[in-house]
Structures are given as structure tokens and as C-alpha cells.
């Protein structure tokens, strides 16, 4: 294995959902770990290529610039003015349509998005391309045959797997430390920005699910909201906790 052709799928997250006047966009945290993992593989196999792709509105171009700044070779923006918010199959189909004839050895993405937390796009892309998929990957090393990896289960348990290429991995946070963009890469990104593809040209699928209603979560408990100055709040809080018997007796402390 001399080089790998890698695709990293990213999502643009709105920093302040619900607050329209603040239109801050950033890369989904988990996708940052996926991109870093791709770049680490390229550090090992120097001739490798790391492409990064994002389906979304024009906000996507901001996070793709950051991805190029971190060192991605090429960025692809699939422009969809109104991506169906709740249909991961739509997003997965567009990514698969782009990737199908590009012969990627490895497709990486975050284990889920921070905002919707559906965790579906990665496994769906794998299925659409008929390649194996491992989710929640917390360790990955290139081997002679492919990739040795560990999946994280509940409570910190881990499964070890031997995977062959091509495959899709969804990456759990903590697998590495994502690098910061470098000045030289940012300058290169300015000269070589993301390629934009219109979603309609990729034959987007029919919707499979729709949102019928959005509501604010119900309060699970009757909360007491403490008011007053900061000092008063602190005193009230510890008075309550003391009355409930959560605090140690004073004499034990001194």
C-alpha cells in the first residue's frame, strides 16, 4: 500500500441554533477528528490524497476553507439551498453519488453531528457504495491488509476489528487531537477554493421522512430557579443542599 485516496465527510453546524441574528458556522466537532485521522494517514503514506466534502448551503464553504487550512488537498461543496433537515438519506445519497466513481479507499466522517446526533450518514454512504462500515471508531492503524481498528461501546468497552479497504469509518471524539489550520495551507486554500457542485446535478433522492412538528422539551422536574445576587444564589444553593443532607457535617471538614 503506497497511497490512500481518502474522502472526509463534514457538516456545517450553526453555532447558535434558534438565534437568527448570530450566523456563526463551524465544522461539526466529530468531523474534525475524522479529518485529522485522514491527515494522519497521509502523514504516514505521503503520496495519499485527502479530499473533504460537505453537503449544505453556502455556509458550507466556510468550513471547507478551514478543512483546506488544516491540510486537505481538495474540497467539494455540494450546494443544496434547502437540504431536507431531517433526511440523512438525502445527504448520504449525494455524497455517495459524488464518491461512486472516484475510487476512494477510505471514507471518514464523525460518529454523529453535534446538532441532530443521528449518526446515520456514514453507515448509509457505506451501504450505498456496498463497502463495509465501522462506527464509533476510537483507534485506527494501517496494517498490511487494511486497517486495524477499535470501536467504542457503552461504558468504555472496546471491540477490535480487522478491516479491509475500501471501507467507511465513523470516528469518535478523542481518537486524536485535530490540528489547527496553518498559514501556508490557508494561503493555498485562498488560491484553490472548494469546487462547488449543484445538488440537482447529482440526482437527489425522494424524501423518506419529514418533520411534522417542532416543540420545546417538556420540563422533567419542577425546577426552582434561584434569584438574587451571585452571593445570595450561592448561599441559597448550599442551604438547600445542607437541608437535604448532601453536605458533610462541619466538623469533618476542619
Amino acid at each position: 500500500m503506497f497511497l490512500l485516496k481518502i474522502l472526509v465527510c463534514t457538516k456545517a453546524i450553526n453555532e447558535n441554533p434558534g438565534e437568527i441574528h448570530l450566523d456563526e458556522t463551524r465544522m461539526n466537532l466529530f468531523d474534525g477528528f475524522a479529518l485529522e485521522q485522514g491527515l494522519l494517514f497521509r502523514d504516514t503514506l505521503k503520496e495519499s490524497i485527502v479530499d473533504v466534502i460537505c453537503v449544505g448551503t453556502e455556509n458550507a464553504s466556510e468550513i471547507l476553507t478551514r478543512a483546506l487550512g488544516m491540510g486537505a488537498d481538495q474540497a467539494i461543496h455540494i450546494n443544496s439551498e434547502a437540504p431536507p433537515l431531517y433526511d440523512p438519506f438525502y445527504t448520504a445519497s449525494l455524497i455517495a453519488a459524488h464518491a461512486r466513481h472516484k475510487a476512494y479507499d477510505l471514507i471518514l466522517t464523525g460518529v454523529m453531528s453535534e446538532d441532530l446526533m443521528q449518526g446515520q450518514v456514514g453507515p448509509m454512504v457505506a451501504e450505498l457504495l456496498s463497502v463495509p462500515c465501522a462506527t464509533s471508531v476510537i483507534s485506527a492503524h494501517l496494517s498490511r491488509e487494511g486497517i486495524d481498528l477499535e470501536r467504542e461501546l457503552e461504558g468504555g468497552a472496546r471491540e477490535s476489528w480487522e478491516f479491509v479497504l475500501p471501507c467507511v469509518l465513523t470516528v469518535q471524539s478523542g481518537i486524536n487531537t485535530p490540528r489547527y489550520p496553518s498559514l501556508s495551507c490557508m494561503l493555498r486554500a485562498a488560491r484553490n477554493p472548494a469546487t462547488c457542485i449543484q445538488a440537482e446535478t447529482l440526482n437527489p433522492p425522494e424524501m423518506r421522512q419529514v418533520i411534522t412538528r417542532v416543540s420545546v422539551p417538556e420540563k422533567q422536574r419542577n425546577a426552582l430557579v434561584l434569584g438574587g445576587t451571585s452571593e445570595e444564589k450561592a448561599l441559597k444553593l448550599f442551604k438547600i443542599l445542607k437541608e437535604k443532607g448532601f453536605l458533610r457535617e462541619n466538623k469533618e471538614m476542619v
Binding site: G18, P88, M117, G156, R221, A234, L237
Partner: protein, 342 residues
């Protein structure tokens, strides 16, 4: 249209996981509103005693017996289940929203041309349309989602439904279907999507000490809002004032190395139920809430009054931790001094 709800069991080869009983409880709820029937599917090798045990609780069970499948394998699960559903038309397929369920469930939906709704925590019928509830915007909003397809695959969030109580004496049943050939070697490029070439190599149980969290009466937990290590040091000082305390946190704090993964509370960490859970600067993503919602008394301290954790709390305080933490420590120290007459 099919009237069948299928629940896919999660198991470790020796026993059925608790979450499977939660899925059955969820399925029963849908069944009652739709007059559907519920069937449990167990996938694996040599699991007839597991299947019998579930049937004895009044459940109709189909055992998909796969020679050589002694451990979960995503590719094999997807293949045998889609083979099965090619013949047995499903209306609804329920999987667990766990590391295992979420590994095969979305791919299975693609194979079945079904909608896939993940992290489901509620269901309702409205004007003849079935809707499923899940969190969005990091738990700040809830969305009702309706499938447009005839078939639907759902992953149901653990901890939401009370496990189904066994109905001993009710009529259960077991049918066994032999699903051969999935793990026999094949030629590379045989068009099986490489599933036979991926190999399970072993399971490592957690090396972390989660005892501290599970045995604590008071969990002093920190989230993204905790800030620097100086604040974390104050948290440890504050924790020392409590009976049987432990310091825990959300995943991001562990990822930053401020706490170790053994201290992580949430779906991918520990699920805890202490007498007191103090959430300092924890916004309350669904992932985290699922790990602490059974706590007896919850305090949420956050500068964001709209943080979802505020909906989980018995006491809410809106404060910036940078200012509030030193005040809290001073207040505890002061009352300590006063109590000993210093």
C-alpha cells in the same frame, strides 16, 4: 400493508440486554395504538435457550441461526436481516440506539428502502399519521418526525421506556430459521461488499475505574462550560464538602484530557443514578442526559438559561462559572468556619 413490528434483540451471546426489553415495551405501545403484532428477532449461533427464555415470557420469537456468528458483526447482521425482511414484510423495525444498533441499523434501512429515524423517545398517532419524537438542536428542541415510506427502521434511545414485564403463562413461541453461508470464505470481489473480509478480533472490557461514579452519593459533574484547570481545581475542592462525592463530566471534558474517560457520564460513558447530581456548565446533550436522568436530585448551573439541562433540574442557577465557582467555595468554607466556631 404489513401489520408487523419487529424488534431486533441486542445480546452478548449469554443474555438478552436490558435495552431489548425496553424496545419491546416501546413496540407494545405502538402495537396498542395500531393493532399490530410484535415479534422479537434474535440473530446469532446456538441461541435457542435465549430464544426459549424470551418465549417463556409470552413473546413470539424468531431465531435467525447463523453458523459461526459468535459475536456481533455488522455486515452479517445487515445481510441476514435484509434476507429475512425480503420475505417477511415489516411495517416497523425497532433497533437499540446503542453502539451496536447504530452500527447496522441505518445500513439496513438503506437495503430495505426504508426511512430511518434514530434516537426515538416517543410515538403518537395524529390524524392517522404516525409520528416519532426525537431531540434536535443538541436537545434544545424536540421534533416529531413522520416517515413517508411504507417501511420504517427506528433506533430507540435506551433508558426512555421501562423494560417490558414478563407475562409468564402467556403464549410465546420460537421459530428457528437457518441462515447459512454468511461467514464462509468467498472470493474477493464477489460483490458481497467485503463483509466476509472484515474480522472481529476481540472484546476489551473497560479498564477504567467507574466504581467511583457508581458508588457516589453526590456526583459533581462538569461540562464544556467549566473552562480552565483552575476552575476544575475549585470543583475538586467543592466536591470535598459533600458526602460520598465523585467528580464526573461530559465527554468533551474527557476528550480535552481534563478528566479521564472513566469519569465520563453519558450513553458512551457511565449511566449513573446518584442522590445528587450537580451539573456545572453542562448544556445537556441527549447523549449526556441519558446517562444521568435517573438521578434523585439535580442542580444545573449554567450561564445559558436555555440549556436543556435546566429542564432536567430541581434547582437552576444562571451564572458564569468563572465568577460563581470561587464564590461557592468561599461560601462553603465560610459556613465550615462558622460551624466550628473559628
Amino acid at each position: 400493508m404489513s401489520q408487523q413490528i419487529y424488534v431486533i434483540a441486542q445480546h452478548d451471546g449469554d443474555k438478552i440486554s436490558l435495552v431489548t426489553l425496553e424496545l419491546l415495551a416501546f413496540a407494545r405501545q405502538v402495537q396498542n395504538s395500531q393493532s399490530f403484532s410484535v415479534t422479537l428477532i434474535i440473530v446469532g449461533e446456538g441461541l435457542s435457550s435465549l430464544a426459549r427464555g424470551m418465549a417463556d415470557q409470552g413473546i413470539s420469537v424468531i431465531l435467525l441461526d447463523v453458523p459461526g456468528l459468535t459475536h456481533y458483526h455488522g455486515g452479517v447482521y445487515k445481510q441476514v436481516l435484509s434476507d429475512f425482511f425480503a420475505i417477511h414484510e415489516p411495517a416497523l423495525i425497532c433497533t437499540a440506539h446503542t453502539a451496536q444498533g447504530m452500527d447496522y441499523s441505518p445500513g439496513l434501512a438503506v437495503q430495505l428502502k426504508a426511512a430511518h429515524i434514530s434516537g426515538v423517545q416517543g410515538v403518537e398517532m395524529k390524524d392517522g399519521i404516525i409520528n416519532f419524537l426525537r431531540a434536535m438542536d443538541n436537545g434544545k428542541q424536540m421534533a416529531w418526525i413522520s416517515p413517508v415510506t411504507d417501511r420504517v427502521v427506528l433506533s430507540v434511545r435506551p433508558g426512555v421506556y421501562k423494560p417490558l414485564l414478563p407475562e409468564f403463562g402467556a403464549m410465546g413461541s420460537v421459530s428457528v430459521l437457518h441462515m447459512g453461508g454468511c461467514l464462509e470464505p468467498s472470493d474477493p470481489g464477489a460483490g458481497d461488499g467485503g463483509i466476509k473480509q472484515i474480522k472481529f478480533k476481540g472484546l476489551k472490557q473497560s479498564q477504567m475505574d467507574v466504581k467511583g461514579l457508581s458508588e457516589a452519593q453526590a456526583i459533581i459533574a462538569v461540562g464544556n462550560g467549566i473552562g480552565d484547570d483552575e476552575n476544575l481545581a475549585i470543583i475538586h475542592d467543592i466536591a470535598a464538602f459533600f458526602n460520598k462525592p465523585a467528580v464526573g463530566g461530559s465527554r468533551i471534558v474527557c476528550d480535552r484530557g481534563q478528566l479521564c474517560y472513566g469519569q465520563q457520564v453519558g450513553l458512551t460513558g457511565s449511566v449513573v443514578a446518584p442522590k445528587l447530581y450537580m451539573a456545572w456548565g453542562i448544556s445537556g446533550a441527549a447523549q449526556h442526559i441519558a446517562g444521568m436522568e435517573q438521578s434523585e436530585f439535580v442542580v444545573s448551573i449554567n450561564k445559558d438559561a436555555t440549556a436543556p439541562m435546566m429542564n432536567m433540574a430541581d434547582v437552576c442557577i444562571v451564572e458564569d462559572l468563572n465568577q460563581f465557582l470561587p464564590l461557592c467555595l468561599a461560601s462553603l468554607q465560610f459556613s465550615g468556619d462558622e460551624g466550628t466556631g473559628c
